[in-house]
């Protein structure tokens, strides 16, 4: 009896399966709210931390997965390109920290500014940069975002509100406060996220800039991407107080699990509201990088492989979103694998295209040193006359 019922049920189900997958596609695109609890609560310094419950949608979670898979793929591909000597110089990879980039993007608009240091490839992608621009720039080709003249540490995207891309540790912090100053000057209700690392957190200019930002209530959010190692020096060996979110003293701070994209999104949204009303706030993203500091650093001389694989197993940002997607039945294993394959394909295509992109012309050596001046040009000793042409 039971058997025949089962067979009937199975037959029924077989007819229904297309319908179910159709339903699932609906829920994949649906914007109905899903509430997720972050794995770790927020810790506040001189501020009431936001709630652990984050509202998200299936669409958003899928976009997190897609974007992070693309970023992870890009960084791993950059690793291979570097070893193949197509990328030279310094190459600082972001894999492991993707949640910070996507979570931040989810909370803000392109009118808000982001400025960061040299670990900038994924944030560039998040701000609207393309894979082609990214790989071309890494390989020093003409189609790069900085025309091949910047390199890995100098990715910029003006239209996307991405202000770089800076090589000197900590120098981007005053720049970021300057961006916030301009936003306050123009009264345009936008904020600036200034990212720096746990190594840069010991720079004097951070505290100078923080003082000014707090003094003038600038809409600046200082985000410490604490991956616990300043190149080869662990945070406890470099900082007397590794509680970076507390080091603002008079400036409120929030400690966030930086491997959880939803927690990052919640914190950034909270910080944006705060900054627009009350001035600067510090966010400490507790994150981790799988690669070494840069491609010249194996990354295993100052930490154990067990530690790295431990974090990868327990806290990997992409795995976390994958589990969420599976748990809420937004997608199945195969679909997610397809997305990762698609990411790989996109990256491979972009690399192939970037390899075809030509190197910059020799004349490009001298372009963009100065902006062509105000109608008056001086050409040196063989200049025939000084001309002032009104533009």
């Amino acid at each position: 009896m039971a058997l025949s019922t089962h067979r009937t049920t199975t037959a029924l189900l077989r007819h229904l399966t297309p319908a179910i997958s159709y339903l699932r596609h609906i829920s994949t695109d649906s914007t109905s709210t899903i509430t997720v609890e972050t794995s770790v609560p927020f810790t506040g310094h001189k501020i009431e931390p936001p709630s652990r419950s984050v509202d998200t949608t299936a669409q958003e979670l899928m976009s997190f997965f897609r974007d992070m898979a693309l970023m992870r793929r890009m960084e791993i591909a950059a690793d291979s390109l570097y070893k193949a000597k197509l990328i030279r110089g310094f190459c600082h990879l972001y894999d492991g920290q993707e949640a910070v980039a996507v979570g931040m993007e989810a909370a803000i608009t392109r009118k808000d500014c982001i400025i960061t240091a040299y670990r900038d490839h994924c944030i560039f992608l998040g701000r609207g940069g393309t894979l082609l621009e990214s790989f071309s720039e890494l390989m020093g080709r003409k189609d790069g975002c900085s025309k091949g003249k910047g390199g890995s540490m100098h990715f910029y995207k003006k239209e996307g509100g991405f202000y770089g891309g800076h090589g000197i540790v900590g120098a981007q912090i005053p720049l970021g406060c300057g961006l916030a100053f301009a936003q306050k000057y123009k009264n345009d209700e936008n904020v600036t996220f200034t990212l720096y690392g746990d190594g840069a957190a010991n720079q004097g200019q951070l505290f100078e800039a923080l003082n000014m930002a707090a003094l003038w209530d600038l809409p600046a959010i200082l985000v410490c991407e604490n991956n616990h190692y300043g190149m080869g020096t662990a945070e406890w060996r470099a900082a007397k107080s590794p509680a970076y979110y507390k080091r603002g003293d008079y400036v409120p701070g929030l400690k966030v699990d930086g491997m959880d994209a939803l927690a990052v999104k919640q914190a950034c949204r909270f910080a944006k509201e705060h900054a627009l009303k009350n001035g600067p706030i510090i966010l400490e993203m507790d994150t981790y990088r799988y690669h070494g500091h840069s491609m010249s650093d194996p990354g295993s001389t100052y930490r154990t492989r067990d530690e790295i694989s431990g974090v990868r197993q327990e806290r990997d940002p992409i795995e976390r979103v994958r589990k969420l997607l599976l748990a809420y039945d937004i997608a199945n294993e195969k679909e997610l694998k397809d997305i990762e394959k698609e990411a790989r394909k996109q990256v491979d295509e972009a690399i192939a295209k970037a390899k075809e992109s030509p190197l910059p012309e020799p004349s490009e050596l001298f372009t963009n040193v100065y902006v062509k001046g105000y109608g008056v040009e001086s050409f040196g000793a063989d200049r025939k006359e000084i001309r002032a042409a009104l533009p």
Binding site: A171, P174, K184, E208, Y374, R383
Partner: protein, 411 residues
């Protein structure tokens, strides 16, 4: 001077309040940007009239005196108005701030205090605390902040209370100010002006008497200019603010009280141009900033002795105006450089190299470069005097140059 200017309609100022008003928040409409009244350099055609005016003995201003004795001689009928150099700087700054709401001032004690050399006096009450920003003592960061603001389109004028303090901001000036336009592939322009007084003052001590032009000159992407008279101070200030490139404007502590009559009409000077101070035939003397006045003092003695030196205030320290300088060298065949930088790695050293490379064939004698001694500026008055170039040394150098072939070859 007035004869050389085209009459220019003054650009209508953009209304401005303390904080940039809401309704204009995304429209930095500066319609008058394109009607910039730029002085056309008519140096060549007006050389003769200049020559005549100098023959008549009308030197503009002298040394470090607080009273310009020639101002009265110019006569009350002359057009224009008289003011001191720091007032000229302020006038230029104020006009630009009225014209373009994106121009703002950032520095220590520029607002409520009015500026330690009074260059920004009265601007904070007029434009508000946000546009004339008093910063804490954090050169590295507020210079960085100014540059960050410039990346978004603001046009900050960053003041170093003394140029020497900007050494703390060297990273920001070199990497971010100078190089960002290049490393971003042209995406960002940094239309910032960095200005402040430098140079050897009156017993200010070693750290407050530094000449930073020599340290900054290698930085790619920035322009360096040095002002020396109220006329060129105002013109260069305005040009620097309007330039899309980062400009470092070097003022001198001892020149702030120079008085001169400047035109009422609006004018802007060319940042890359040198100024012909005194045309001549025998020797080219290249100088800038305060040394201009030591040179002019020496010129009085030289003229009495029968020499006819040509004095050029190079004004543009980076890039050099090799056109004007080259034409002068072709005429006189002898070059004397008088500068306040130190001998090693100074502006004079670079200029010597540039002239040797470009005009070697026109030189009849080795270039003489008179610079300050390679020592920290001492406090004691007499010692300080000996670190910088004094007029008798300039006279001796010219005599040496003109007699270098073993015969008096300057007549």
């Amino acid at each position: 001077m007035a004869a050389m200017l085209h009459t220019i309609g003054v650009a209508s100022p953009v209304a401005s309040g303390g904080v940039f008003p809401d309704h204009q928040s995304n429209k930095f409409a500066v319609s008058s940007l394109h009607s910039l009244p730029m002085i056309r350099s008519e140096a060549r055609s007006n050389l003769s009239s200049l020559h005549e005016s100098y023959r008549a003995g009308k030197l503009i201003a002298k040394a470090v005196a607080t009273k310009g004795e020639n101002a009265a001689a110019s006569g009350a009928s002359k057009p224009g108005h008289e003011l001191l150099l720091f007032e000229a700087l302020r006038e230029g700054l104020e006009e630009e701030m009225e014209r373009d709401p994106r121009v703002c001032v950032i520095g220590e004690d520029v607002g409520h205090y009015g500026g330690s050399y009074k260059v920004t006096k009265g601007l904070a009450p007029k434009f508000g605390d946000l546009r004339v920003l008093d910063t804490p003592i954090a050169e590295n960061s507020f210079t960085g902040m100014g540059i960050g603001a410039a990346m978004t389109g603001l046009r900050p004028v960053i003041e170093g209370m003394n140029m020497g303090f900007l050494l703390l901001a060297f990273n920001q000036i070199s990497d971010n100010c100078g190089m960002l336009h290049y490393t971003s592939g042209g995406q960002f322009t940094i239309p910032a002006v960095i200005r402040g007084p430098g140079g050897v003052g009156r017993q200010l001590g070693a750290e407050h008497s530094q000449r930073l032009e020599s340290y900054f000159q290698s930085i790619p992407g920035i322009q360096l200019v040095a002002c020396s008279t109220p006329y060129n101070a105002k013109g260069l200030m305005k040009a620097a603010i309007r330039s899309e490139n980062p400009v470092v404007l070097f003022e001198h502590v001892l020149l702030y009280n120079l008085k001169e009559r400047i035109p009422d009409e609006e004018y802007v000077l060319n940042l890359e141009e040198a100024e012909m101070v005194r045309p001549g035939e025998h020797v080219t003397i290249l100088t800038y900033s305060r040394m201009r006045y030591h040179v002019m003092q020496a010129v009085k003695t030289l003229v009495n002795k029968g020499y006819d030196p040509e004095v050029i205030d190079i004004r543009s320290l980076k890039p050099f105006d090799l056109y004007t300088i080259g034409n002068s060298v072709k005429k006189t065949h002898r070059v004397l450089i008088v500068e306040e930088c130190m001998r090693t790695g100074g502006i004079g050293a670079s200029l010597t190299a540039a002239i040797n490379e470009n005009f070697h064939d026109y030189l009849d004698a080795q270039i003489i470069c008179l610079s300050s001694q390679d020592v920290p500026t001492p406090y004691a008055g007499t010692l300080e005097e000996w670190t910088v170039v004094q007029p008798p040394q300039i006279v001796a150098a010219v005599e040496q140059l003109c007699h270098s072939n073993g015969r008096i070859s300057c007549n």
